[in-house]
Each structure stands twice: as C-alpha cells, then as structure tokens.
C-alpha cells in the first residue's frame, strides 16, 4: 500500500510530488479563492452603496425635512478637495503595492520592503484622513445617529475603512515575514494575493469617491 | 352633502366594462363549487375568511384567473404523480432480473427540448392572463366613487379608517375596526401604518395589500351586495397579530349616506348629574389622552375640562391621529370613539360590542375590556427599551363605579338619527 501511495499515479500525477503540479485551472487555490472572495465583496459594497444612494435621496425628499439643517448637513458637509487628496493617496498606494510585488518577483528584498512600507504608510494616511473627516463631520453636527443619510454614510465609509485597516494588518504581517527572510521570490504569489485585496479596496474607493462624494 | 353623495352613486352604475365578468362568473361558479367541495371536503364548517368565495369585482377578477391556473396545476400534478407511480410499478426490478441491464439511454435532445418548450408555453399562457388581471386590478375603475376615499391606517393592533369626503386631502371623520362602504361602487383605499408593517385583507373583496409605515399603497374594492365581510391582518405585526381583524361593511348607497351623515355629527354631551355625565368625566380624566371623541376633545387633543368647553362643542380633533401630519413611529393613539355604538365589534374587531342582529350592547365585554384589557388580547402596554409609549391599551385601574359610569357614557355614543 505504501508503495502504491508514493508511486506516480496514472497520468504522471504523483501524490507526493507537489512541485510543478498543475491545478485544473492553472491557478493556485489561494489566488482563485481570493478572487472568489473579491467577487463576493462586490455584492457587499454594492448593498452598502445602494443603501446610501437610496437614503441620500430619501432624506432630500422626505416631507418636512427639505432644506432643514440636517439635510444641508448631509448635502454640503463634504470637503471635496480634501477627499480628492486622500483618494489620490489611496491610488498611489496601489502603485507602491504593485511595485512591491514586482520587486519581490526579482527577489529584490530592499525595494520590496521599501514599497511595502510605503504602501502601509499611504494606507495609514488615508485612514487618518478618514478619521479626520469623520471628526469634522461630527463637529458640524452630523453624528452617526443624526439621520438616515449619516447612518448610511458612516456605515459605508466605515466598512471601507475597516477593509483598509485589515489590508494594513496583512501588509504589516508580510513585512514582518520578509524581515524573517520568509518572503522570497518563490512565494511572491502570497504577496500578490495580499496585493489583490489591497487593489480591490482601492477600486471600491474609486467607486465610492464618484458615487458618494462627487455625483450630486 | 349627503344628497349630492347619493346622487353620485346613483349616476354611476356598473359600467359595461365589467359585464363580461358576470358571464365568466357563471361557469366559474360551477367550477368553484366543484373545487370547494373537493377542497373543503370535510369542511362542513363555515369559513368566513375563505379566499374562494368572491363577493366583489376585484376578488372576482382574481378568482377568474386563479381557477384556470389551479386546473392547469392540477393536471400537471396528476400527470407527474401518476407518472411516478406508473414508472415505479412498471419498471420495478423483478425477481430474476438482478443481473439484467436496461438499455443505456443517455437522453434525447429533441424530447428534452420539447419538455423545456412546452412548460414554457404553458407558463406564457398563464403570464398573459396574469398581466391582464394585473392591469384590471391596478387600473382605477371608471365608476370609482369620486366623492370619497378611505385611508386605511394599521397600528398595533387595530385598524383605523379615515374618510376623506370630497377627496380633498383632509380627513372628515374617523372610525375603527369597521370600514363602511357603499355597495355597487368601487372604493379607493390608501393604505399606510403608524408603527410596523400590517397587511389589509378582506378576502371576499380583494387580495391583500401591505400597510407599511412611511409608504402609501393603493387598493380598490367593491362589494356587490350588502353584508359584513371579515378580514385579518396578514403581515406579522407582533403580539396581537392574530387578534388584529377588521370588517368591511357594505351598506346600500342610501344607508351609507345616512351613516356618513351620522358620523359627521359631534357626540352628545350628557346632562350634568347623570351617570353618563360622570362617565364622560371619567373618560376625560383617564382615557382622553389617547382616545378621541368628536365634540369632547379640543383640537389640540387635550381633554376638555370646563363646562364652557363642553357646551362649545369644540371642533373635531381626529387629524391628530393621522400619519399624514407626521407619524409617531410608535402607537400612542387609540381608536376614535365618536359614535362607538354604530359599530358592532371592538378590540381588534375580535369581540362583540353589540349584537349584529339585535343591536344590544354587550356590557360584559365592554366592562371586562376596561377592567383588564390584557384579558382580552396580548399586549405590552408598559414602556420598553426604545419605546416610551408601550404597545396596546394599558390597565387604567378604575373603580367599579367608574367603570359602570363609563360604560353608561360609552353606550350613549351614537348619532341621534341612528
């Protein structure tokens, strides 16, 4: 029995021989799994964005609420130039992320770590911007429970912020592993998968920036 | 007002548009009889909520669609189930066949396409009928009563009916538990709710429609004959969901006008010194914070205190209970009691207030309800987390004398003419 296990199976697929063993799709399980998860996340953010859009409109048309302070708060509270800058910061973090992956495929540890740290830094800057923005809104009187608009807004952007935070934790873990010398060219894909998540979070912000902040 | 109203009804007889329905109804009734017999088999019991005994144009239109669909479904049901039985018997493996192999058939594309397309065609046929009936049900009939509409307001756990005469957007009078409509004319209903989602359903007259807070939904119904048609709230709405019922009462146009005229009057103020007067005082002291009686409560819904206020027969105050003027999310309001004694049921239309045949007041029920409401239906009148009002009628702790006086007063609540 032991022999049959180690002997190559028909078609040359050896049970123990993991190296060079192709999956049916030619994609690793981890990467396929991440993409499936990202596909699923589309529905999550879609739901939050739709809720926000619906309630933004509802608030503006709710009888007795037109032109009240609360509605004006909902409409005019955004500081677009500020948010544009933080959007830019998040976009650039995608660039540094992809450069980090690129460096790792060359096993260029120094560059990889630099870009990785840059990504973490940019992501943290974005988060700090969000914290600042939330604080400013609350100071203006737009709290989480103020109205349907504010609940939907904070929930949507809060969920995005939580995703960024998780991304930062993942990248920090990667950085720690690279310091231990465990993150080498041969597991570049691990970093790439973390990168996929990071880019997705960025892409979601691309949508939120336009749909939530810019379109009136 | 009343005469003009009557005239309107007279002028608008059945339009020819619905005549064909009458013809369809004839043979549908036969089929209906058969299916009723089959379905209700042992059900020799009377089932007043039945969906299979339409008494109005809208419910009849639904019935005309449902019956053929049921027949098609029945045929398919028999076909498949007999088929399964037949296959099971005929192709059962018998003794001695243990090692036999049937012909290894993998499929037949033409056949399978066939049984993809045929069900699709059947469904297409049903779809045509469905859309046609949907159009009927969603088009306001030409002869709809143009001079009034009813706003149906659900709350935990009873129904309020706000009558808007002249359809000018103002509520003219309010009643609860019983919605009175004239026969022979479609009536426009607008549904909403003051707390959670309820669903308004008079099975004999039309399908159900949700009464959702913050939304208005439309429904029309017409009763062909006089009668009392029972209904039930059908969207789960909390503790007393099972006890939340209502009646649609169809009266002849003349009776309806008389009823409307009566409802438009204010309640009588009983003479000082009588038991009824003491009952009124008990009412204003204990009940008027929630219940309204036209002619008793002032426009801002504070109880009338002085003799002068009673005599002034101050304006009506019902609008305070309408969700149109800003809905409190929580039931804080109670049924309007003006002309209470024109109704036959109370407490979610579940208990007898007056005997339908004799008109005799059921004093037991009335006293018992006032004495301890939670004996009559499950409620949660105490304030809870996030709810400062509680849900339902609280126990008031009146003395027995006060209860007697109150019942004496409530028994007077009917327009003079009625």
């Amino acid at each position: 029995m032991a022999e049959t296990l180690t002997a190559p199976a028909e078609g040359g697929h050896a049970a123990h021989d993991d190296h060079g063993h192709e999956t049916n799709t030619g994609i690793t399980n981890e990467k396929l799994g991440m993409w499936l998860f990202l596909g699923s996340e589309c529905l999550l953010f879609g739901g939050l964005i739709s809720t926000f859009l619906l309630y933004k409109k509802k608030l503006n048309t709710f009888p007795g609420f037109e032109n009240t302070t609360i509605v004006r708060l909902g409409r005019n509270v955004f500081d677009i130039p500020f948010t544009s800058v933080s959007s830019f910061v998040l976009l650039m973090s995608s660039l540094t992320m992809v450069l980090a992956v690129s460096a790792l495929t060359r096993d260029d540890q120094r560059r990889m770590r630099t870009w990785l740290l840059a990504t973490v830094f940019l992501g943290s800057t974005f988060l700090a911007g969000q914290v600042y923005e939330f604080t400013a809104f609350v100071k203006e009187g737009l709290g989480y429970t103020t109205n349907i608009f504010s609940s939907a807004f904070y929930t949507l952007t809060g969920f995005h912020g939580a995703h960024v935070l998780i991304g930062i934790v993942i990248l920090m873990t990667m950085f720690a592993r690279s310091l231990q010398g465990k993150l080498r060219a041969r597991n570049a894909e691990t970093l790439e998968i973390a990168g996929l998540y990071w880019h997705f979070v960025d892409v979601v912000w691309v949508v939120i920036f336009v749909v939530v902040y810019l379109i009136k | 007002m009343s005469d003009q109203f009557n005239g309107e009804v007279e002028r608008r007889k059945m339009s020819p548009k619905y005549d064909h329905l009458k013809r369809v109804r004839k043979y549908v009734t036969v089929l209906l009889g058969v299916s009723l017999l089959a379905l209700a088999g042992c059900g020799s019991e009377r089932t007043p909520l039945t969906t299979l005994d339409p008494r109005g144009e809208a419910s009849q239109a639904i019935q005309n669609l449902v019956v053929p669909v049921f027949i098609v479904a029945g045929i398919v049901f028999v076909f498949i189930n007999v088929g399964v039985l037949y296959v099971a018997v005929r192709f059962r493996r018998r003794k001695g066949e243990e090692n036999e192999f049937p012909e290894q058939v993998h499929g037949n594309t033409k056949l399978e396409l066939g049984w993809t397309i045929i069900p699709a065609l059947i469904m297409a046929g049903i779809a045509v009928g469905t859309v046609a009936t949907l159009v009927t049900l969603n088009t306001e009939p030409d002869n709809t009563a143009k001079d009034f509409e009813v706003r149906v307001v659900g709350q935990q756990w009873w129904w309020q009916f706000e009558y808007d005469l002249g359809r000018d957007g103002t509520v003219d009078f309010v009643t609860a538990s019983e919605m009175v409509i004239p026969t022979g004319v479609p009536v426009d209903l607008t549904m909403t709710s003051r707390d959670v989602i309820h669903s308004f359903w008079i099975p004999a007259l039309n399908g159900k429609k949700d009464a959702a807070p913050g939304r208005l939904s439309k429904l029309w119904m017409q009763a062909d004959e006089e009668g009392r048609f029972i209904g039930q709230c059908t969207e789960f709405c909390g503790l007393s969901h099972a006890y939340m019922r209502m009646y649609a009462v169809a009266k002849s146009p003349a009776d309806f006008d008389k009823w409307v005229a009566g409802q438009m009057t204010n309640a009588k103020i009983p003479a000082a010194g009588t038991a009824e007067r003491r009952g009124l005082e008990a009412f204003t002291g204990n009940c008027a914070g929630c219940h309204l009686i036209s002619g008793v409560n002032t426009p801002d819904c504070t109880p009338i205190k002085t003799e002068a206020e009673y005599d002034a027969k101050a304006n009506t105050c019902w609008v305070g209970a309408s969700p149109y003027t800003g809905a409190p999310q929580v039931s804080g309001m109670a049924p309007n009691l003006t002309h209470l004694m024109t109704r036959y049921v109370f407490v979610g239309a579940l208990y007898e207030l007056r005997n339908v045949d004799t008109g005799e007041i059921n004093v037991n029920n009335l006293e018992g309800w006032i004495r301890n409401p939670e004996d009559y239906k499950p409620m949660a009148p105490e304030p809870t987390r996030g709810n400062t009002y509680g849900r339902g009628m609280p126990k008031i702790n009146l003395t027995e004398d006060q209860i007697d006086d109150l019942v004496a007063y409530l028994s007077t609540l009917a327009p003079t003419s009625a």
Partner: protein, 565 residues
Amino acid sequence: MALVEREPLALPSGAGTGVAVEPLGVLARPHTKTGWRSWVSTVDHKKIGIMYGAAALLFFLVGGLEAMLIRIQLAQPNGTVLSADVYNQVYTMHGVTMVFLVIMPMAAAFANYLLPLQIGARDVAFPRLNALSFWMFLGGGLFFNTAWFVGGGGADCGWFCYAPNSGVAFSPTHGVDFYAVGLQIAGAASLIGAVNLIVTVLNMRAPGMTLFRMPVFTWMQLVVQFLLLFSLPVITVALFLLTFDRSFGANFFNISQGADPLLWQHLFWIFGHPEVYILILPSFGIVSEIIPTMSRKPIYGYPFMVFSGIAIGFMGWGVWAHHMFASGLGPISVAAFSLSTMFIAVPTGVKILNWMATMWGGKITFNTPMLFSAGLVAMFTIGGLSGVTHSVAPADTQQTDTYYIVAHFHYVLFGGALLGLFAGMYFWWPKAFGLMLNERLGKVHFWVILVGFNLTFGPMHILGLQGMSRRIQTYQPSDGFTFWNRVATLGVFVIAVAMLVFLYNIYASWSSWKKAGRPNPGADPWDARSLEWSIPSPTPEHNFDVIPEVHGQDDFWHRKYGEDE
C-alpha cells in the same frame, strides 16, 4: 491505515496545487486519529462532513420540537398552550433553525464529504478553513439558540424578521440581536465554505475529470456554492444594518426619520430567493445520483440537468420581489417579477421530467434511498406547482401570508430538500460508516414520514385557501379552521414517530453491526456510478490510494461494465 503520511504536508492543502511552494505560516497538521480529539482537531473533509451532519440532526430535533409546539398550540381554537409572546418566538426559532441550522448544514455535510471524493481529490482546497467553517457554523447556531436562556427569549420577528417590527421599539428583548449576530456568524462560515468548495471543484479534479464529466451532485453543489458566494454578502449587509440600528441607534429602519421599511425586505429577499435554491439544489443533486444508480441507467439528459441547474442559479437572482407582491411595489415591478418567477418553473420542470425519463425503461431497485428519491419527485412537484400559483401575482395577493404559502414551502423544503437529504443519508451511510442502515426500518421510516408529512402540510393548502393567516398564535372557533388544524397536528406526531424510527434505525444498525460483526458492505454496495464508490468503505483518510484517471462520465460504472455499445 499505515499508509497515512507522516510528514505534515505530504498531502497538503490541495494535493494538486503546490505552486506557492512554501506557505508562509506552516502549522502542523493534526495527527490524532481516534477519540474525541481526532474530531475536535480534525481538518479532514470527511470528519468535518460527518460533524456537519450530526450537528444538523441535533438542530433538527430542536427545530422539530419547536414545530410540535406550534402544532399543539394550533390544535384547537383559542389555544392556550403557548402565550402569544412565546408562540412568536417558537415559530421564529423553528423557521430560522430549519433553514439555517438544519437544511443548509445538512447539505454542507454532503458537499464536504462527497465533493472531493466525486472529483477524485484527497481533500478540499483549504482543509483548515474547512474546519474553521464548521466550528463557526456550530458557534453561530449555538449562539443563536442561547437567546432562549440569556436573551430574554428567542427572536420573535419571523424568519425574515421584517423591519421595523424587528426594531428595538417593537422587539425589545435581545432575541433579535441574537438572531442578527448568530446568522452573521453562520453566514460567514458558509461564505468561507463556499470559497473553499468552489476552489476544490474548479482546481482539484482528477486528471480527465472535466467539468462535464462531473457527477450531477457535484454540479448542483457547485451552483449552490456560487449562489452562496454571491448572496451571503447581501444578508450580511442587511444584518449589519439591523444590528447597527438596534445596538448603535442607526436609522436604517427608523421610519420617523424617513427610512424605508422595504429596504430590509429587498435586501433580505435578494439573499432569500437564491437561498431557496441553496436549500433545494443539493437534494436535486442527491436524487440525480440515486435514481440512475437504482435504475441502472445513466442520468437522462445530463447536459439538460446541468444547464437547468445553472439556469436556476442565474434566474434565482431575478425573482426575489415575488415575496413582496402585496407590499405595494407598484404594478410594473409586480408584473416583471411575476413573469420572471413563472419562467424559473421551466428548468425545474425539466429536472422532474428528466428524472422520470431516467427511471423509464430502467430496472429500478426500490430500496430506501430510491423510495425517498421517488418521494421527492412526487412531493416536490406539489410544492413546485403551488409555487406556480404564487407566481401569478393577483392570486398571490390572496394566498401570500396564509397557510397556503406555509404548505407551499414545506412541500418544497420538507417534501423536496429534506426527503432528498434523507435519501442521501441512506445512500451514503455505508460509504461514511462502513455499515448499512436497516432496510426494513428505512422503509418504515419512509412510509410513515410520507403519510405524516402529507397529513401535516396537505391540509395547510386548504386552511390557506380558507383564509387562515400564517403566524397567528391562535384562531377563532367561528373561523372554521378547527378540523384541518386537528389533522395537521395529528400529522406532526406521525412525523415525530417517523423520526424516532430513523433515530432507532441509526442506533440499531450501529449496535447490531458492532455486536453481530456484520460484514462490511464493501466499497460499492449499490452498484453505483461515481468515483467515491471505487474506494473502500468507510473512506480511508487519504481517500484515494491512487488518484484515478477519468475517461468519461460515470467513469466508475464503465470501469465495471465497459463502455456502452
């Protein structure tokens, strides 16, 4: 079992991948083979599958007791067995338990156990995530049920928990909080499981096992996992909104602030309708394995079976608002969803006719799995047809929220999903445990449950058409509902007897097998068709000594009997 690997990663996560050669965090694979430790620490898809099944059966007993309480309360008008408050909790917990903690995990049990075997893999793609999935599901289910003890009572808002009735103002106990958080946890577990199983099927098939050679069960599970993947995030959103409303004072369902009560309904049913297919498709898959096996014929119209499953999966996204015909959607929405719902009946009908065609001309062995399968075809048809009458929107406004719809979905979920799952249990029991369930008791189980089921839910069609609303804690003597309610209550006791027979069967089969030393039923007791039957029973831990090479559909059958013609 000496052949099991000694090195932790000899058969690593994905004995077929290995491109990311050195995973970053390497935890040793647990080695305990026996005792409770082997179960608690296992990452083996088979043990996890069995645990899913055991947990689901346990919850089934809980949900069943709740069902009996409901029926006892309704056995007479003005019932006083349960107060309105408790009744509302009992029926809510019954519904949620049966949907999320019984049928879904039972289907997950089969998926976990069988998918790797049917595609010729040694495990799922992510064994540890698989274990996480199971324990999260169990945690979520137990958490949800602890509401009885620490939440001031169970959730009391119905399984779809419509806002604003689910808000703090109208449901002040913590039952709904437990509902929201418990389902959130169980939902995350299902999402992880879905990713895991999809990757397994797409990536880890044995050589030659192309997608269109996969057994129909695997296909149906693949569709189900995709439905889970895309529908769970929607209920996640809804549950978060509800939790935030209840716990942090958000305004998502605060009507006085202008919130819309239909938002919850849309989000819930966008998830909820695919959920219906998540519940039923696994059973369709099970039956599609059993009927060909017992008829000794290949499945009739394999491509049609597969594509109708995929079609149901896609169309399931476009019909959700048929749950809301009475909610005041507006005529155009109603018409559109009415039509889309009608046409989803077509692929379902194709399946039923193909099963019949499979049986046609066969040599059918009517053993217990086959009886349950034929029972599914007949009973599900009834549920499907009453579903068609619901798709007719005007008719639905009379029928919805009455017992007619209760009858409908019980014929689908009990007569469809559950009968299929029972069929699967009898069918794969020898594979999982190396012993057969007693045939005679199995047949008694089937016939008693068939009678009990029809006694319980058949009359509900009549009650519904007679106008009995669902979710009412009692009715009046004058309503005329008494007779058929009595019949239904009688029926639930018959079902209870059937379940006792089933539990006794499990016990008796196990003990007689142990004591009498009955022979192992062997690898292939049914003369079956798919790969899992080519390996010993119970399945060895590594599944396949040699990863099989597949040359066609029903490869194992053809290995035994040669190609057709």
